[in-house]
Protein backbone atom coordinates (compact mmCIF):
# COMPACT_ATOMS: atom_id res chain seq x y z
CA UNK A 1 0.00 0.00 0.00
CA UNK A 2 1.20 3.51 -0.77
CA UNK A 3 2.63 5.51 2.08
CA UNK A 4 0.31 8.12 3.47
CA UNK A 5 1.90 11.55 3.39
CA UNK A 6 -1.10 13.23 5.01
CA UNK A 7 -0.48 12.23 8.61
CA UNK A 8 -1.30 14.68 11.34
CA UNK A 9 1.05 14.94 14.22
CA UNK A 10 0.07 14.60 17.85
CA UNK A 11 1.94 14.51 21.14
CA UNK A 12 2.37 10.73 20.90
CA UNK A 13 3.33 10.59 17.24
CA UNK A 14 1.66 10.68 13.86
CA UNK A 15 -1.97 9.86 13.25
CA UNK A 16 -3.78 8.81 10.10
CA UNK A 17 -7.24 10.12 9.22
CA UNK A 18 -9.69 7.61 7.73
CA UNK A 19 -12.67 9.02 5.85
CA UNK A 20 -15.75 7.56 4.23
CA UNK A 21 -18.55 9.62 2.72
CA UNK A 22 -22.27 9.16 2.30
CA UNK A 23 -23.45 11.61 -0.33
CA UNK A 24 -27.14 12.34 -0.76
CA UNK A 25 -27.83 13.43 -4.31
CA UNK A 26 -31.31 14.63 -5.21
CA UNK A 27 -32.56 13.00 -8.41
CA UNK A 28 -33.22 15.65 -11.07
CA UNK A 29 -36.87 14.64 -11.45
CA UNK A 30 -39.95 16.86 -11.79
CA UNK A 31 -42.09 14.72 -9.49
CA UNK A 32 -41.29 12.87 -6.26
CA UNK A 33 -40.13 9.27 -5.87
CA UNK A 34 -43.51 7.85 -4.88
CA UNK A 35 -46.00 10.66 -5.55
CA UNK A 36 -46.97 13.15 -8.24
CA UNK A 37 -46.10 16.26 -6.23
CA UNK A 38 -43.52 18.69 -7.61
CA UNK A 39 -39.89 18.89 -6.46
CA UNK A 40 -39.03 22.42 -7.52
CA UNK A 41 -36.86 24.37 -5.09
CA UNK A 42 -38.13 27.43 -3.24
CA UNK A 43 -41.90 26.90 -3.40
CA UNK A 44 -44.33 28.15 -0.73
CA UNK A 45 -44.30 25.91 2.37
CA UNK A 46 -46.36 22.72 2.06
CA UNK A 47 -47.54 23.66 -1.44
CA UNK A 48 -45.77 20.71 -3.07
CA UNK A 49 -47.13 18.00 -0.83
CA UNK A 50 -49.48 15.23 -1.90
CA UNK A 51 -51.51 13.24 0.59
CA UNK A 52 -48.99 10.43 0.04
CA UNK A 53 -46.12 12.67 1.17
CA UNK A 54 -48.16 13.80 4.18
CA UNK A 55 -48.69 10.11 5.05
CA UNK A 56 -52.47 10.32 5.17
CA UNK A 57 -54.08 6.96 5.97
CA UNK A 58 -54.67 4.72 2.98
CA UNK A 59 -52.30 6.52 0.65
CA UNK A 60 -50.03 4.21 -1.34
CA UNK A 61 -46.65 4.86 -2.95
CA UNK A 62 -46.26 4.40 -6.72
CA UNK A 63 -42.71 4.53 -8.02
CA UNK A 64 -41.52 7.15 -10.50
CA UNK A 65 -39.69 5.19 -13.22
CA UNK A 66 -37.68 8.21 -14.25
CA UNK A 67 -36.01 8.14 -10.82
CA UNK A 68 -35.19 4.45 -11.24
CA UNK A 69 -33.67 5.27 -14.61
CA UNK A 70 -31.51 8.01 -13.11
CA UNK A 71 -30.24 5.69 -10.38
CA UNK A 72 -29.26 3.12 -13.01
CA UNK A 73 -27.68 5.83 -15.14
CA UNK A 74 -25.64 7.03 -12.17
CA UNK A 75 -24.63 3.47 -11.34
CA UNK A 76 -23.37 3.01 -14.89
CA UNK A 77 -21.45 6.30 -14.62
CA UNK A 78 -19.80 4.99 -11.44
CA UNK A 79 -18.90 1.81 -13.33
CA UNK A 80 -20.88 -0.05 -10.72
CA UNK A 81 -22.84 -3.26 -10.62
CA UNK A 82 -26.52 -2.74 -11.47
CA UNK A 83 -28.96 -4.94 -9.56
CA UNK A 84 -31.96 -5.80 -11.72
CA UNK A 85 -33.74 -6.88 -8.55
CA UNK A 86 -33.74 -4.67 -5.47
CA UNK A 87 -36.02 -4.15 -2.50
CA UNK A 88 -37.50 -1.14 -0.75
CA UNK A 89 -37.42 -1.26 3.04
CA UNK A 90 -38.87 0.83 5.81
CA UNK A 91 -36.37 2.55 8.06
CA UNK A 92 -38.31 3.33 11.21
CA UNK A 93 -37.76 6.39 13.36
CA UNK A 94 -39.80 9.28 14.71
CA UNK A 95 -39.13 12.88 13.84
CA UNK A 96 -41.61 15.71 13.20
CA UNK A 97 -40.51 16.13 9.56
CA UNK A 98 -41.07 12.43 8.82
CA UNK A 99 -44.86 12.04 8.72
CA UNK A 100 -44.84 8.33 7.89
CA UNK A 101 -42.78 7.45 10.95
CA UNK A 102 -40.45 5.62 8.54
CA UNK A 103 -38.37 6.46 5.53
CA UNK A 104 -38.71 4.28 2.44
CA UNK A 105 -35.15 3.31 1.63
CA UNK A 106 -33.17 0.30 0.44
CA UNK A 107 -31.21 -1.68 2.99
CA UNK A 108 -29.96 -5.15 2.16
CA UNK A 109 -30.67 -5.14 -1.56
CA UNK A 110 -29.83 -1.75 -3.13
CA UNK A 111 -30.37 -0.92 -6.80
CA UNK A 112 -26.64 -0.34 -7.39
CA UNK A 113 -23.72 -2.28 -5.93
CA UNK A 114 -19.96 -1.78 -5.97
CA UNK A 115 -18.25 0.74 -8.25
CA UNK A 116 -15.36 3.19 -8.22
CA UNK A 117 -14.37 6.81 -8.78
CA UNK A 118 -10.94 8.10 -9.72
CA UNK A 119 -10.00 11.29 -7.94
CA UNK A 120 -7.35 13.76 -9.10
CA UNK A 121 -4.89 14.82 -6.43
CA UNK A 122 -2.92 18.07 -6.28
CA UNK A 123 0.38 16.40 -7.22
CA UNK A 124 -1.20 15.11 -10.43
CA UNK A 125 -1.62 11.59 -9.08
CA UNK A 126 -4.84 9.65 -9.46
CA UNK A 127 -6.38 7.58 -6.66
CA UNK A 128 -9.27 5.15 -6.88
CA UNK A 129 -12.00 5.45 -4.27
CA UNK A 130 -14.32 2.49 -3.95
CA UNK A 131 -18.09 2.95 -4.05
CA UNK A 132 -19.85 0.49 -1.77
CA UNK A 133 -23.39 1.05 -3.02
CA UNK A 134 -26.02 3.46 -4.30
CA UNK A 135 -29.60 3.19 -3.16
CA UNK A 136 -32.83 5.08 -3.73
CA UNK A 137 -34.68 6.62 -0.81
CA UNK A 138 -37.10 9.38 0.14
CA UNK A 139 -36.02 12.69 1.56
CA UNK A 140 -37.67 13.93 4.77
CA UNK A 141 -39.34 17.31 5.24
CA UNK A 142 -37.56 20.40 6.47
CA UNK A 143 -37.64 21.64 10.06
CA UNK A 144 -37.06 25.30 10.90
CA UNK A 145 -35.91 25.82 14.45
CA UNK A 146 -35.24 29.53 14.47
CA UNK A 147 -38.61 31.03 13.61
CA UNK A 148 -40.23 30.82 17.02
CA UNK A 149 -38.95 30.73 20.63
CA UNK A 150 -40.47 27.37 21.57
CA UNK A 151 -41.86 25.86 18.39
CA UNK A 152 -40.25 24.21 15.37
CA UNK A 153 -41.87 24.74 11.97
CA UNK A 154 -42.19 21.92 9.47
CA UNK A 155 -42.40 22.20 5.69
CA UNK A 156 -43.05 18.90 3.90
CA UNK A 157 -42.16 20.11 0.38
CA UNK A 158 -39.01 18.00 0.43
CA UNK A 159 -40.82 15.03 1.95
CA UNK A 160 -40.75 12.20 -0.57
CA UNK A 161 -38.27 13.78 -2.98
CA UNK A 162 -36.07 11.10 -4.56
CA UNK A 163 -32.52 10.84 -3.26
CA UNK A 164 -29.65 8.66 -4.34
CA UNK A 165 -27.50 7.82 -1.35
CA UNK A 166 -24.00 7.07 -2.61
CA UNK A 167 -21.79 5.37 -0.04
CA UNK A 168 -18.02 5.28 -0.44
CA UNK A 169 -15.58 2.88 1.13
CA UNK A 170 -13.39 4.36 3.90
CA UNK A 171 -10.67 4.94 1.31
CA UNK A 172 -9.85 8.61 1.83
CA UNK A 173 -6.96 9.73 4.02
CA UNK A 174 -7.11 13.55 4.03
CA UNK A 175 -9.55 16.43 3.80
CA UNK A 176 -8.17 17.21 0.34
CA UNK A 177 -8.97 13.68 -0.85
CA UNK A 178 -12.51 13.92 0.50
CA UNK A 179 -12.96 17.25 -1.26
CA UNK A 180 -11.57 15.86 -4.51
CA UNK A 181 -13.99 12.93 -4.17
CA UNK A 182 -17.03 15.17 -3.77
CA UNK A 183 -15.89 17.37 -6.65
CA UNK A 184 -15.46 14.40 -8.93
CA UNK A 185 -18.72 12.77 -7.89
CA UNK A 186 -20.54 16.07 -8.42
CA UNK A 187 -18.98 16.44 -11.89
CA UNK A 188 -20.03 12.90 -12.84
CA UNK A 189 -23.60 13.49 -11.64
CA UNK A 190 -23.81 16.75 -13.57
CA UNK A 191 -22.38 15.21 -16.75
CA UNK A 192 -24.96 12.43 -16.45
CA UNK A 193 -27.69 14.98 -15.70
CA UNK A 194 -29.04 12.80 -12.89
CA UNK A 195 -28.56 15.46 -10.18
CA UNK A 196 -28.05 19.21 -10.56
CA UNK A 197 -25.31 19.13 -7.91
CA UNK A 198 -26.48 22.37 -6.32
CA UNK A 199 -24.99 22.25 -2.84
CA UNK A 200 -26.41 25.60 -1.72
CA UNK A 201 -29.95 24.40 -2.35
CA UNK A 202 -29.24 21.06 -0.71
CA UNK A 203 -29.45 18.95 -3.88
CA UNK A 204 -26.10 17.48 -2.92
CA UNK A 205 -25.01 17.04 0.68
CA UNK A 206 -22.50 14.84 2.42
CA UNK A 207 -22.34 12.92 5.68
CA UNK A 208 -18.67 12.56 6.53
CA UNK A 209 -17.42 9.64 8.62
CA UNK A 210 -14.20 10.53 10.40
CA UNK A 211 -11.93 8.32 12.48
CA UNK A 212 -8.25 8.42 13.36
CA UNK A 213 -5.67 5.71 14.05
CA UNK A 214 -1.95 5.18 14.33
CA UNK A 215 -0.70 4.12 10.88
CA UNK A 216 -1.07 0.37 10.51
CA UNK A 217 -3.55 0.02 13.38
CA UNK A 218 -7.12 -1.22 13.17
CA UNK A 219 -9.82 1.33 12.30
CA UNK A 220 -10.70 3.72 15.11
CA UNK A 221 -14.20 4.58 16.32
CA UNK A 222 -15.86 6.92 13.87
CA UNK A 223 -18.01 9.99 14.22
CA UNK A 224 -20.46 10.95 11.53
CA UNK A 225 -20.73 14.63 10.64
CA UNK A 226 -24.17 15.13 9.14
CA UNK A 227 -25.31 17.19 6.17
CA UNK A 228 -22.24 19.21 5.29
CA UNK A 229 -23.30 21.30 2.33
CA UNK A 230 -20.22 22.80 0.74
CA UNK A 231 -16.84 21.49 -0.36
CA UNK A 232 -15.07 24.09 1.76
CA UNK A 233 -17.05 23.10 4.87
CA UNK A 234 -16.24 19.43 4.25
CA UNK A 235 -12.56 20.33 4.49
CA UNK A 236 -13.01 22.44 7.61
CA UNK A 237 -15.21 19.86 9.35
CA UNK A 238 -12.69 17.06 8.74
CA UNK A 239 -9.70 19.10 9.91
CA UNK A 240 -11.51 20.09 13.10
CA UNK A 241 -12.96 16.66 13.85
CA UNK A 242 -9.70 14.75 13.27
CA UNK A 243 -7.82 17.12 15.55
CA UNK A 244 -10.54 16.81 18.20
CA UNK A 245 -10.32 13.01 18.16
CA UNK A 246 -6.51 12.99 18.33
CA UNK A 247 -6.51 15.42 21.26
CA UNK A 248 -9.24 13.41 23.01
CA UNK A 249 -7.36 10.11 22.70
CA UNK A 250 -4.03 11.62 23.66
CA UNK A 251 -5.61 13.13 26.75
CA UNK A 252 -6.63 9.64 27.80
CA UNK A 253 -10.23 9.75 26.54
CA UNK A 254 -12.01 7.52 24.04
CA UNK A 255 -13.94 8.52 20.94
CA UNK A 256 -17.62 7.77 21.24
CA UNK A 257 -19.48 6.76 18.13
CA UNK A 258 -21.89 9.64 17.60
CA UNK A 259 -23.57 11.92 15.12
CA UNK A 260 -22.16 15.42 15.01
CA UNK A 261 -23.05 18.71 13.36
CA UNK A 262 -20.67 21.15 11.72
CA UNK A 263 -21.20 24.82 12.56
CA UNK A 264 -19.88 26.98 9.71
CA UNK A 265 -19.81 30.04 11.97
CA UNK A 266 -17.32 28.57 14.45
CA UNK A 267 -15.71 25.98 12.18
CA UNK A 268 -16.35 23.37 14.90
CA UNK A 269 -18.31 20.15 15.18
CA UNK A 270 -20.55 19.33 18.12
CA UNK A 271 -22.58 16.33 19.23
CA UNK A 272 -26.04 16.47 17.65
CA UNK A 273 -27.94 14.84 20.46
CA UNK A 274 -26.97 13.31 23.72
CA UNK A 275 -28.46 9.92 23.07
CA UNK A 276 -27.89 7.01 25.37
CA UNK A 277 -29.64 4.60 23.05
CA UNK A 278 -28.16 3.54 19.72
CA UNK A 279 -30.35 3.87 16.64
CA UNK A 280 -32.61 0.93 16.04
CA UNK A 281 -34.24 1.41 12.67
CA UNK A 282 -35.91 -2.02 12.53
CA UNK A 283 -35.67 -2.23 8.74
CA UNK A 284 -38.16 -4.51 7.02
CA UNK A 285 -39.39 -4.81 3.41
CA UNK A 286 -42.09 -2.24 2.69
CA UNK A 287 -45.29 -4.24 2.18
CA UNK A 288 -46.72 -1.40 0.04
CA UNK A 289 -44.09 -1.88 -2.65
CA UNK A 290 -43.25 -4.91 -4.74
CA UNK A 291 -39.56 -5.62 -5.35
CA UNK A 292 -38.02 -3.26 -7.90
CA UNK A 293 -37.37 -5.35 -11.01
CA UNK A 294 -36.30 -4.38 -14.51
CA UNK A 295 -34.90 -6.14 -17.53
CA UNK A 296 -31.34 -6.11 -18.84
CA UNK A 297 -32.70 -4.34 -21.96
CA UNK A 298 -33.83 -1.46 -19.73
CA UNK A 299 -30.24 -1.12 -18.45
CA UNK A 300 -28.72 -1.52 -21.94
CA UNK A 301 -30.98 1.22 -23.31
CA UNK A 302 -29.70 3.62 -20.64
CA UNK A 303 -26.09 2.54 -21.19
CA UNK A 304 -26.43 3.32 -24.89
CA UNK A 305 -26.80 7.07 -24.45
CA UNK A 306 -24.38 7.59 -21.58
CA UNK A 307 -22.45 10.81 -22.26
CA UNK A 308 -18.69 11.18 -22.33
CA UNK A 309 -17.69 11.42 -18.65
CA UNK A 310 -15.09 13.77 -17.09
CA UNK A 311 -12.21 11.25 -17.09
CA UNK A 312 -12.77 10.30 -20.71
CA UNK A 313 -13.10 13.91 -21.75
CA UNK A 314 -9.91 14.84 -19.92
CA UNK A 315 -7.99 12.05 -21.64
CA UNK A 316 -9.34 13.19 -25.01
CA UNK A 317 -8.39 16.83 -24.36
CA UNK A 318 -4.84 15.73 -23.55
CA UNK A 319 -4.55 13.40 -26.53
CA UNK A 320 -6.43 15.31 -29.22
CA UNK A 321 -5.71 18.91 -28.28
CA UNK A 322 -2.29 18.45 -26.70
CA UNK A 323 -3.38 20.17 -23.46
CA UNK A 324 -1.54 19.69 -20.20
CA UNK A 325 -3.27 17.38 -17.69
CA UNK A 326 -3.75 20.40 -15.45
CA UNK A 327 -5.48 22.54 -18.10
CA UNK A 328 -7.55 19.57 -19.26
CA UNK A 329 -8.59 18.93 -15.66
CA UNK A 330 -9.69 22.53 -15.18
CA UNK A 331 -11.68 22.56 -18.42
CA UNK A 332 -13.59 19.31 -17.81
CA UNK A 333 -14.67 20.24 -14.25
CA UNK A 334 -17.99 21.42 -15.65
CA UNK A 335 -19.48 20.02 -18.84
CA UNK A 336 -20.47 23.57 -19.90
CA UNK A 337 -16.89 24.81 -19.57
CA UNK A 338 -15.59 21.92 -21.63
CA UNK A 339 -18.19 22.60 -24.31
CA UNK A 340 -17.27 26.30 -24.35
CA UNK A 341 -13.61 25.41 -24.84
CA UNK A 342 -14.33 22.91 -27.61
CA UNK A 343 -16.52 25.35 -29.45
CA UNK A 344 -13.88 28.10 -29.19
CA UNK A 345 -11.07 25.76 -30.21
CA UNK A 346 -12.70 24.78 -33.46
CA UNK A 347 -10.18 25.50 -36.20
CA UNK A 348 -7.85 27.34 -33.81
CA UNK A 349 -4.69 26.59 -31.88
CA UNK A 350 -6.21 24.64 -28.99
CA UNK A 351 -3.48 25.42 -26.48
CA UNK A 352 -3.81 29.15 -27.12
CA UNK A 353 -7.58 28.83 -26.78
CA UNK A 354 -7.21 26.89 -23.50
CA UNK A 355 -4.95 29.63 -22.17
CA UNK A 356 -7.44 32.34 -23.06
CA UNK A 357 -10.44 30.39 -21.74
CA UNK A 358 -8.76 29.67 -18.41
CA UNK A 359 -6.74 32.87 -18.08
CA UNK A 360 -9.22 35.43 -19.38
CA UNK A 361 -12.72 33.96 -19.61
CA UNK A 362 -12.82 32.02 -16.31
CA UNK A 363 -10.93 34.76 -14.50
CA UNK A 364 -13.33 37.42 -15.83
CA UNK A 365 -16.42 35.34 -15.00
CA UNK A 366 -15.11 34.66 -11.52
CA UNK A 367 -14.52 38.32 -10.89
CA UNK A 368 -17.93 39.32 -12.25
CA UNK A 369 -19.57 36.35 -10.46
CA UNK A 370 -21.13 35.06 -13.67
CA UNK A 371 -21.84 31.57 -15.00
CA UNK A 372 -20.33 30.40 -18.24
CA UNK A 373 -23.83 30.43 -19.75
CA UNK A 374 -23.93 34.21 -19.16
CA UNK A 375 -20.42 34.90 -20.43
CA UNK A 376 -20.31 38.35 -22.09
CA UNK A 377 -17.78 36.95 -24.55
CA UNK A 378 -18.97 34.02 -26.63
CA UNK A 379 -16.93 30.92 -27.46
CA UNK A 380 -16.93 31.96 -31.12
CA UNK A 381 -15.48 35.36 -30.21
CA UNK A 382 -12.72 33.74 -28.14
CA UNK A 383 -11.90 31.55 -31.13
CA UNK A 384 -11.87 34.58 -33.45
CA UNK A 385 -9.59 36.55 -31.14
CA UNK A 386 -7.12 33.66 -30.87
CA UNK A 387 -7.22 33.45 -34.65
CA UNK A 388 -6.51 37.17 -34.96
CA UNK A 389 -3.44 36.79 -32.73
CA UNK A 390 -2.30 33.78 -34.72
CA UNK A 391 -2.53 35.58 -38.06
CA UNK A 392 -0.82 38.65 -36.60
CA UNK A 393 -3.78 40.98 -36.95
CA UNK A 394 -3.36 41.93 -33.32
CA UNK A 395 -0.53 41.54 -30.86
CA UNK A 396 -1.00 39.39 -27.76
CA UNK A 397 -0.81 42.52 -25.69
CA UNK A 398 -3.51 44.39 -27.62
CA UNK A 399 -5.64 41.22 -27.62
CA UNK A 400 -5.94 41.50 -23.85
CA UNK A 401 -7.39 44.97 -24.32
CA UNK A 402 -9.75 43.70 -27.00
CA UNK A 403 -10.93 40.93 -24.68
CA UNK A 404 -11.61 43.38 -21.88
CA UNK A 405 -13.58 45.64 -24.20
CA UNK A 406 -15.69 42.70 -25.37
CA UNK A 407 -16.22 41.58 -21.77
CA UNK A 408 -17.39 45.05 -20.72
CA UNK A 409 -19.67 45.43 -23.72
CA UNK A 410 -21.45 42.27 -22.73
CA UNK A 411 -23.37 39.88 -24.90
CA UNK A 412 -25.88 42.52 -26.00
CA UNK A 413 -23.32 44.57 -27.87
CA UNK A 414 -22.00 41.40 -29.42
CA UNK A 415 -19.19 43.18 -31.24
CA UNK A 416 -16.74 40.73 -32.74
CA UNK A 417 -13.04 41.21 -31.98
CA UNK A 418 -12.24 42.21 -35.56
CA UNK A 419 -14.71 45.11 -35.31
CA UNK A 420 -13.26 46.31 -32.00
CA UNK A 421 -9.71 46.12 -33.35
CA UNK A 422 -10.80 48.20 -36.33
CA UNK A 423 -12.67 50.78 -34.25
CA UNK A 424 -9.96 51.20 -31.65
CA UNK A 425 -7.09 51.19 -34.13
CA UNK A 426 -5.43 48.24 -32.45
CA UNK A 427 -4.44 46.58 -35.67
CA UNK A 428 -0.80 45.67 -36.08
CA UNK A 429 0.94 46.82 -39.26
CA UNK A 430 1.17 43.53 -40.97
CA UNK A 431 1.08 44.89 -44.51
CA UNK A 432 4.04 42.81 -45.61
CA UNK A 433 4.38 44.96 -48.73
CA UNK A 434 5.09 48.07 -46.65
CA UNK A 435 7.35 46.20 -44.24
CA UNK A 436 9.16 44.52 -47.09
CA UNK A 437 9.87 47.90 -48.71
CA UNK A 438 11.27 49.22 -45.47
CA UNK A 439 13.45 46.14 -45.02
CA UNK A 440 14.75 46.42 -48.59
CA UNK A 441 15.57 50.05 -48.04
CA UNK A 442 17.64 49.36 -44.94
CA UNK A 443 19.44 46.43 -46.57
CA UNK A 444 20.24 48.39 -49.72
CA UNK A 445 21.60 51.31 -47.69
CA UNK A 446 23.93 49.15 -45.59
CA UNK A 447 25.81 46.61 -47.72
CA UNK A 448 28.63 46.47 -45.18
CA UNK A 449 26.29 45.47 -42.37
CA UNK A 450 24.76 42.84 -44.62
CA UNK A 451 28.16 41.29 -45.10
CA UNK A 452 28.77 41.37 -41.34
CA UNK A 453 25.42 39.80 -40.65
CA UNK A 454 26.29 36.81 -42.83
CA UNK A 455 29.18 36.13 -40.45
CA UNK A 456 27.41 37.07 -37.27
CA UNK A 457 23.65 36.29 -37.46
CA UNK A 458 23.07 38.29 -34.29
CA UNK A 459 23.50 41.41 -36.42
CA UNK A 460 19.97 40.77 -37.71
CA UNK A 461 18.69 42.52 -34.59
CA UNK A 462 20.22 45.78 -35.79
CA UNK A 463 18.26 45.56 -39.07
CA UNK A 464 15.02 44.87 -37.18
CA UNK A 465 15.64 47.94 -35.05
CA UNK A 466 16.25 50.09 -38.12
CA UNK A 467 13.06 48.87 -39.80
CA UNK A 468 10.99 49.44 -36.66
CA UNK A 469 12.37 52.96 -36.51
CA UNK A 470 11.58 53.55 -40.17
CA UNK A 471 7.97 52.39 -39.76
CA UNK A 472 7.36 54.44 -36.63
CA UNK A 473 7.08 51.32 -34.43
CA UNK A 474 3.78 50.18 -35.95
CA UNK A 475 5.17 47.19 -37.74
CA UNK A 476 4.59 43.77 -36.30
CA UNK A 477 7.97 42.83 -34.82
CA UNK A 478 7.60 39.15 -35.68
CA UNK A 479 6.82 40.01 -39.29
CA UNK A 480 9.83 42.33 -39.48
CA UNK A 481 12.06 39.71 -37.93
CA UNK A 482 10.86 37.06 -40.33
CA UNK A 483 11.47 39.27 -43.37
CA UNK A 484 14.88 40.43 -42.21
CA UNK A 485 16.00 36.84 -41.67
CA UNK A 486 14.64 35.84 -45.03
CA UNK A 487 16.21 38.74 -46.92
CA UNK A 488 19.58 38.26 -45.26
CA UNK A 489 19.46 34.62 -46.17
CA UNK A 490 19.74 33.58 -42.54
CA UNK A 491 16.71 31.29 -42.53
Amino acid sequence: MAENKNLISGATGDWEIVLGLEVHAQVASKAKLFSGAATEFGAEPNSQVSLVDAAMPGMLPVINWFCVEQAVRTGLGLKAQINNYSVFDRKNYFYPDLPQGYQISQFQQPIVGEGAIEIDLADGAVKEIGIERLHLEQDAGKSLHDQHPNMSFVDLNRSGVALMEIVSNPDMRSAAEAQAYVKKLRAILRYLGTCDGNMEQGSLRADVNVSVRKPGDELGTRCEIKNVNSIRFIGQAIEYEARRQVDLIEDGGTVEQQTRLFDPKTGETRAMRSKEEAHDYRYFPDPDLLPLEFSQEFVDEIAKDLPELPDEKKARFINDYGLTPYDAGVLVGEAENAAFFESAAEGQDAKAVANMVIGSVFAGLNKADLDIADSPVSAAQVGQLVGLIADDTVSGRSAKEVFELMFEDGPDQGKNPAVIIEEKGLKQVTDTGAIEAAVDEVIDANPDKVAQAKERPKMAGWFVGQVMQATGGKANPQAVNKLVMLKLGLE
Binding site: S29, K30, A31, S35, G36, A37, A38, E44, P45, N46, S47, Q48, V49, S50, L51, V52, A54, V62, I63, N64, W65, F66, C67, V68, V87, N92, F94, Y95, P96, S143, L144, H145, Q147, H148, N150, M151, S152, F153, V154, D155, L156, E277, D280, R282, P285, P287, L289, L290, P291, L292, E293
Partner: protein, 95 residues
Protein backbone atom coordinates in the same frame (compact mmCIF):
# COMPACT_ATOMS: atom_id res chain seq x y z
CA UNK B 1 -37.17 -16.46 22.39
CA UNK B 2 -38.81 -14.76 25.31
CA UNK B 3 -39.40 -11.09 25.85
CA UNK B 4 -38.37 -9.62 29.17
CA UNK B 5 -39.52 -6.39 30.79
CA UNK B 6 -36.56 -4.40 29.53
CA UNK B 7 -37.32 -5.45 25.99
CA UNK B 8 -40.95 -4.38 26.37
CA UNK B 9 -39.85 -1.01 27.69
CA UNK B 10 -37.52 -0.62 24.74
CA UNK B 11 -40.10 -1.62 22.14
CA UNK B 12 -42.65 0.73 23.70
CA UNK B 13 -40.15 3.54 23.64
CA UNK B 14 -39.26 2.94 19.99
CA UNK B 15 -42.95 2.91 19.09
CA UNK B 16 -43.61 5.99 21.25
CA UNK B 17 -46.24 4.13 23.25
CA UNK B 18 -46.59 5.04 26.91
CA UNK B 19 -46.34 1.92 29.09
CA UNK B 20 -46.30 2.06 32.89
CA UNK B 21 -44.03 -0.20 34.93
CA UNK B 22 -47.09 -1.99 36.24
CA UNK B 23 -48.06 -3.07 32.74
CA UNK B 24 -44.65 -4.51 31.87
CA UNK B 25 -44.96 -8.06 33.35
CA UNK B 26 -48.28 -8.80 31.63
CA UNK B 27 -47.07 -7.42 28.30
CA UNK B 28 -43.81 -9.39 28.49
CA UNK B 29 -45.78 -12.59 29.06
CA UNK B 30 -48.20 -11.85 26.24
CA UNK B 31 -45.52 -10.93 23.70
CA UNK B 32 -43.47 -14.01 24.63
CA UNK B 33 -46.49 -16.18 24.00
CA UNK B 34 -47.08 -14.61 20.57
CA UNK B 35 -43.46 -15.02 19.57
CA UNK B 36 -43.42 -18.57 20.86
CA UNK B 37 -46.42 -19.37 18.69
CA UNK B 38 -44.90 -17.85 15.57
CA UNK B 39 -41.58 -19.51 16.30
CA UNK B 40 -43.08 -22.86 15.40
CA UNK B 41 -42.42 -21.81 11.79
CA UNK B 42 -38.71 -22.17 12.37
CA UNK B 43 -39.20 -25.92 12.57
CA UNK B 44 -39.49 -25.88 8.78
CA UNK B 45 -36.33 -26.23 6.72
CA UNK B 46 -36.16 -23.09 4.55
CA UNK B 47 -32.62 -23.49 3.26
CA UNK B 48 -32.43 -22.26 -0.32
CA UNK B 49 -35.91 -20.74 -0.23
CA UNK B 50 -36.05 -17.07 -1.22
CA UNK B 51 -37.78 -14.74 1.21
CA UNK B 52 -41.35 -14.01 0.20
CA UNK B 53 -42.05 -10.31 0.48
CA UNK B 54 -45.40 -10.33 -1.24
CA UNK B 55 -48.07 -12.87 -2.00
CA UNK B 56 -49.05 -11.00 -5.16
CA UNK B 57 -48.06 -12.59 -8.45
CA UNK B 58 -47.37 -9.29 -10.06
CA UNK B 59 -44.52 -6.99 -10.95
CA UNK B 60 -44.02 -3.49 -9.70
CA UNK B 61 -45.66 -0.79 -11.79
CA UNK B 62 -44.80 2.85 -11.87
CA UNK B 63 -45.56 6.35 -12.98
CA UNK B 64 -44.07 8.75 -15.45
CA UNK B 65 -42.20 11.78 -14.18
CA UNK B 66 -45.12 14.17 -14.39
CA UNK B 67 -46.39 16.56 -11.72
CA UNK B 68 -50.00 15.58 -11.05
CA UNK B 69 -50.49 16.37 -7.40
CA UNK B 70 -49.96 18.97 -4.67
CA UNK B 71 -50.93 22.62 -4.45
CA UNK B 72 -53.30 22.22 -1.51
CA UNK B 73 -51.36 23.26 1.57
CA UNK B 74 -54.59 24.04 3.42
CA UNK B 75 -55.78 20.41 3.01
CA UNK B 76 -52.42 19.04 4.07
CA UNK B 77 -52.51 21.22 7.16
CA UNK B 78 -56.20 20.66 7.91
CA UNK B 79 -55.58 18.07 10.64
CA UNK B 80 -52.54 19.74 12.16
CA UNK B 81 -53.00 20.32 15.90
CA UNK B 82 -51.08 23.54 15.47
CA UNK B 83 -49.91 25.54 12.50
CA UNK B 84 -48.32 28.86 11.83
CA UNK B 85 -48.90 30.42 8.46
CA UNK B 86 -48.40 27.54 6.02
CA UNK B 87 -46.18 25.53 8.38
CA UNK B 88 -46.87 22.71 10.78
CA UNK B 89 -45.90 23.99 14.22
CA UNK B 90 -44.53 21.42 16.69
CA UNK B 91 -42.85 21.67 20.09
CA UNK B 92 -39.25 22.67 19.53
CA UNK B 93 -37.14 19.62 18.70
CA UNK B 94 -33.62 20.95 19.24
CA UNK B 95 -31.96 22.14 22.41
Amino acid sequence: MSVDENMVRRIANLARIGVTDGELPALAKELSAIIGFVEQLSELDTDGVKPLTSAVEDRIRGREDIVTDGGYAEDVLANAPEKDDEYFAVPKVVE
